[in-house]
Subunit: 302 residues, 2 copies
């Protein structure tokens, strides 16, 4: 195995994690949880989403969350990220003093249409406009959803992933996120996609966003580590299940990912005791099942 010595974990509980929780999480609880996540040592934290509050009521307090978390994070060396679906979102993020945004477009036409009611081409054009408008003001991440499989069965061509990634980098993206949106990836597929993508996209421009729907996120992480990928996204408590699969696992949990990397001797900069506190607080305040392996061990005092 040819593994990196150090990995950066981008914590997305505040956005991808909270987003699918049906019961509104009190703004003060959201802020408290994100603060605990920052205290755990994550160097990049996605904290909210500037989306239409009518479509995603859970994210209606984006402005307030940003205000409080930005204040708390000052001087702590942590980058804060907000998801934006369009130019209006980018503007709101910018006005909230956010310096880094995340924009999602699906490789699958069907999934992109279901998710943002646009063709992939339209979404890419919007992305390029956002990059142009906020050049120098906002750092931009481009997430390619359904890279490892579409929930509607559309075939994903590796060439399309590469073309979209190249276009994203050309427009100014700092990272391309290869997202396994519904956990349809497997190590052989990750291996084959990365072996192609790596020919065109520098490996340090790649970040992996893996869901654990079928329990494969850590095995897929291992396959990506072998290709030299050093940035991975995860969510504390494994929050963020797919809306198509209630009760199933969502994002790979930060605690399971950190634990695996630590056991493998890979540095993550995360303090597991602090993360444990964050998870206990999530369990107390968020009305969603906490189903990660490490959280189960924490709950019985291991």
């Amino acid at each position: 195995m040819n593994l990196p010595k150090k990995v950066k974990i981008v914590e997305v509980c505040g956005r991808d994690g909270f987003q699918n929780v049906k019961t509104f999480i009190k703004t003060e609880d959201k802020i408290a949880i994100i603060k605990k996540i920052i205290d755990s040592g994550f160097q990049k934290v996605e904290i909210t989403s500037f989306v239409n509050p009518k479509r995603v009521p859970q994210m209606s307090d984006a402005k307030e969350v940003c205000k409080e978390v930005l204040k708390y994070a000052e001087g702590k060396g942590v980058d804060l990220v907000a998801l934006v679906p369009n130019m209006k979102g980018a503007q709101l993020a910018f006005e909230s003093n956010i310096k880094e945004i995340n924009y999602v477009v699906s490789v699958s036409e069907k999934h992109n249409m279901a998710n943002v009611q646009s063709t992939v081409e339209e979404s890419l054009l919007h992305f390029e406009e956002i990059c142009k408008e906020y050049k120098g003001a906002l750092k931009v991440r481009l997430a390619l959803a359904t890279t490892f499989g579409c929930p509607f069965g559309e075939k994903i061509e590796t060439q399309k992933i590469i073309t979209m990634a190249e276009r994203g980098l050309k427009a100014g993206a700092s990272k391309i996120l290869l997202a396994d949106t519904v956990g349809l990836g497997n190590p052989v597929l990750v291996d084959s996609v990365l072996s192609e993508v790596k020919k065109y996209i520098p490996v340090d421009a790649i970040s992996m966003h893996l869901h654990d729907t079928r329990g494969l996120a850590l095995a897929n992480t291992l396959a990506a580590l072998n290709y030299g990928v050093t940035e991975f996204e995860s969510a504390a408590a494994g929050l963020g299940g797919c809306p198509f699969a209630p009760g199933a696992s969502g994002n790979v949990s930060s605690e399971d990912l950190v634990n695996m990397l630590t056991m493998m001797g890979i540095e993550t900069n995360i303090n597991m005791d602090e993360l444990k506190t964050a998870i206990a607080f999530i369990r107390e305040r968020v009305n969603a099942p906490v189903i990660s392996h490490m959280a189960s061990l924490f709950a019985i005092g291991i």
Copy 2:
């Protein structure tokens, strides 16, 4: 990646799965579940344990389970295995017409003492006696518990694993099971242990018995597949949690393992629809949490 085309999965739900369930599972339900497991296409199934019924009341119906399951399995091309802790167990297994037994000894002295109140040397001597006594009558598997970590913190030397495995093969073992008894293994460790063990033990004499306590079983499976290991043990519904960690994941679930291998294009001979039926029945009749990823998807009709 250098992966095998075909893998054999040994189903241990009937033994390692049921063994830790506190509420007694009715004998007829045990038999019905094991029959459904056989119907799923597993070619080797561990069905019970001939242990002291006072110590493990759940296994007090070993004789009856064997009788009914042996009758059902006839002509189906499935090998049935029973665990035995000692000569008396081997005798009972033999008298029950079982043709293959599994004997467990821990690499960790502390764990072996806690588990069977013997030193490792004493356990190995008993194993050698059993092999001698039942040569030609019983096929024998030797499981090396705590190969990838001891719950009491004892350091596991790879050299000790090799010596025990060599001794096991010399005594007549058909397979050496490298067991991650409490899920303390990680892919780097699996990689390093197998790279050493492979120098002394033929890879086709190795079987992996991985627990998913920290969610690493599938990543560890991937590491072992890369070394050419083609036999893995698992339990339907992921039953069989460690007595030290109630509520935590136990054996890697057969459904998550089969799903990963199938997604990776590796043949397993398992019919997932039949396995799904077995799991639904376990959910109905066994008083234990069903926490595998695929079982969660089955439960919501995916």
